[in-house]
Symmetry: C2
């Protein structure tokens, strides 16, 4: 959880014309201040990550080290790290495995060890390693190499790998060595960049749906699929679409990285991003990624198991139709049982995670009705209310 520059601030380096929108020390520091002041940090949004366009155009001519742009980061990156750490925030930065970054700044090719040492010295906590200007075939080995070099620095850092996004694996999951990926990367970008539009959000959800056979299996604590940053607080989503986006990202156990101007966010986005039920689902200690169960009547059914307090499940119904009015969907919990996630027990309580209000109490096969808006979602936290629930009986069978 945290905040990242790319989606909202891109490669804006014109600080004269765009003083509030450019990638510079001020942006990072004012964001850090806001994360602390408004309690975002204490909700878990701790990583502050600078994406592309922070370095100078050339490496240091003597040491070959990466150096930050002197006008935009006049006090250097170590200073930025110190500032963030002084606020109990964590410091993330961007590198690129290729000869250049995606925006044409110096890449880490041939300088992996040097760059690993630089960022360790700057007390970086999280590094996004992008893949522009490198050959996808060499990325798995290259990232593995970089992962080892990071460990050599002695400083623990989260490694976010971009390489799956550079390999068109969606039609052939064998193009990725998922075990190697899990071993070397703490999270990895599954797909290309998100854009600030509903069609982009839908394409990502549908990719998770299509690759339901592999993505939930490879995710877990320490090794996560990353569907990319959150769009909330920006320009391209309606309120219903924001609910779908954030709700599904929580179902996906996604790293929740905001990419917005923290000083200018709409209230609806703010309250979603701070919703305790949704955050608890995303951050559930089990780290189980949601499975796609089925589609019916234009509704996608999803479920994930929750190991946290209370033990149970999160279920989501995403109504994909973009037209007309709300659908009245009749379903039962039984319809949400997936390959990996069995629902056991007799009586269940459903909490509407968006409102926090108890929605219903049902048996496994009991029909209940959900009303869902077009391009909207309903999402519930489900727990057993049996005195001796099924999972308890399994753990402690009656003697």
């Amino acid at each position: 959880m945290g905040w990242m520059t790319w989606q909202r601030f891109r490669c804006q380096i014109d600080c004269k014309e765009y003083p509030n929108d450019c990638i510079n020390e001020n942006l990072i520091k004012r964001t850090a201040d806001k994360l602390v002041l408004n309690g975002w940090r204490d909700l878990g949004y701790k990583y502050v990550i600078i994406d592309d366009c922070w370095p100078a155009r050339k490496r240091d001519s003597k040491t070959n080290e990466l150096v930050p742009d002197p006008d935009r980061f006049p006090n250097g990156m170590k200073n930025v790290g110190q500032y963030l750490h002084s606020k109990n925030l964590l410091f993330g930065i961007y590198l690129d495995y290729g000869t250049l970054t995606c925006e044409g700044y110096p890449g880490s090719m041939n300088y992996l060890e040097l760059d690993a040492r630089s960022i360790a010295e700057w007390k970086v906590d999280y590094v996004k390693m992008d893949g522009c200007y490198s050959l996808p075939n060499f990325q798995p080995e290259g990232y593995e190499n970089f992962s080892r070099l990071l460990n050599t620095t002695g400083r623990p850092m989260v490694l976010s790998c971009s390489y799956p996004a550079y390999i068109s694996w969606i039609n052939n999951i064998k193009l990725i060595d998922w075990n190697r990926l899990k071993k070397n990367c703490n999270l990895w970008r599954v797909l290309g960049d998100i854009q600030d539009s509903w069609s982009s959000v839908v394409s990502i959800i549908n990719a998770y749906k299509i690759r339901n056979d592999i993505l939930p299996k490879v995710a877990g604590p320490g090794h996560w699929n990353d569907p990319d940053t959150l769009l909330l607080g920006n320009y391209g989503l309606s309120n219903d679409q924001k609910r779908v986006h954030f709700g599904m990202w929580c179902m996906f156990a996604a790293p929740l990285l905001i990419s917005a101007d923290m000083d200018n966010m709409d209230g609806f986005s703010v309250s979603l991003l701070r919703n305790a039920h949704l955050l608890a689902i995303d951050q559930d200690k089990g780290g189980h990624q949601a499975e796609f169960v089925k589609s019916r009547d234009g509704v996608q059914f999803w479920i994930r198991q929750l190991d946290g307090d209370p033990i149970g499940w999160a279920i989501a119904c995403f109504y994909t139709i973009d037209g007309g009015g709300p659908i009245h969907l009749f379903t039962s919990l039984h319809e949400f049982i997936s390959q990996a996630y069995m629902i056991t027990g007799e009586h269940f309580e459903l909490i509407d995670v968006f409102t926090g209000v108890k929605f219903n109490e049902v048996k496994l096969n009991e029909t209940f009705k959900i009303v869902i808006n077009p391009s909207g979602i309903m999402m519930y936290r489900v727990k057993t209310v049996d005195e001796n629930p099924g999972w308890l009986r399994e753990l402690f069978p009656p003697s």
Copy 2:
């Protein structure tokens, strides 16, 4: 201007499960009440139009007349018309030129004269003639025939023709006889149905852009291009996107037909739909449809001439990029001059139509800066503030 069922209420005929969302007398009457109560009518939203799915499944077995569904319109269509007229509203209804309506209700093929007489008797003021289940090649003649039959009834009715939407004319404008269309139809659907999503809105704007060579030329008082109903008050657009949608529809001199639940609209949509500056532009007596001028830096430039008080122009800048932050666009009025719409004069005042606030006062070639959000728009009403403006000098040349 008015309200129409299709986009929001589709063919919902299950009034038991969806009492507030189904096509029935109650929906029409409660909408009419709201249009009057909240002053929508007095702003110009006068037409209340029932789209598909109002008839019974079969024509009257004796007279062959279309009859409304007896459960959903128990008092008949004449009663609906009376109710609307008693509120000083206007009554619109849907027919289909083919053998069936799009949703499978009885079509008007072979019954054109009878149906024209029926709706005249019901005191209909507006008829949408759809084109499902008919051959596109025969539509131009068929609609012409129906237009004559409507005139024969002696009751003046607006005729909305769907047929251009059934002919793939976008790559070949010669497939449409535009003069015949203008002569027979008061408005016509240019494209397929709008959906409640940003991608749908963008595709319509881009079609107007691509066919800038023909669409502005054929539009004018009594014969309008119809880009389809408004999505405001529904689920699929962000606030910035709502501004683009409504702003561009006003630039297009579109018939402003709301398709939403008038009892459940978000405040942002309401204030856009009631914005006096935007309504004045849409309804300008000149009826000049906007021309696309150019694209630059991801921004589309549009202009239309205004003959109303004050004489002048409306200009719009639509920032098409869906990502990043606002663009700072430097431009001048000179950049908006189009083939049909010359800007004449020396000094100009620009009013931001969304806020009503004076934005700037400039000369024709003077550079000014506009800040536009991603998937956003800025739109200005422009008038000369010269004592002897150019257009006046042309009309009354100094002797």
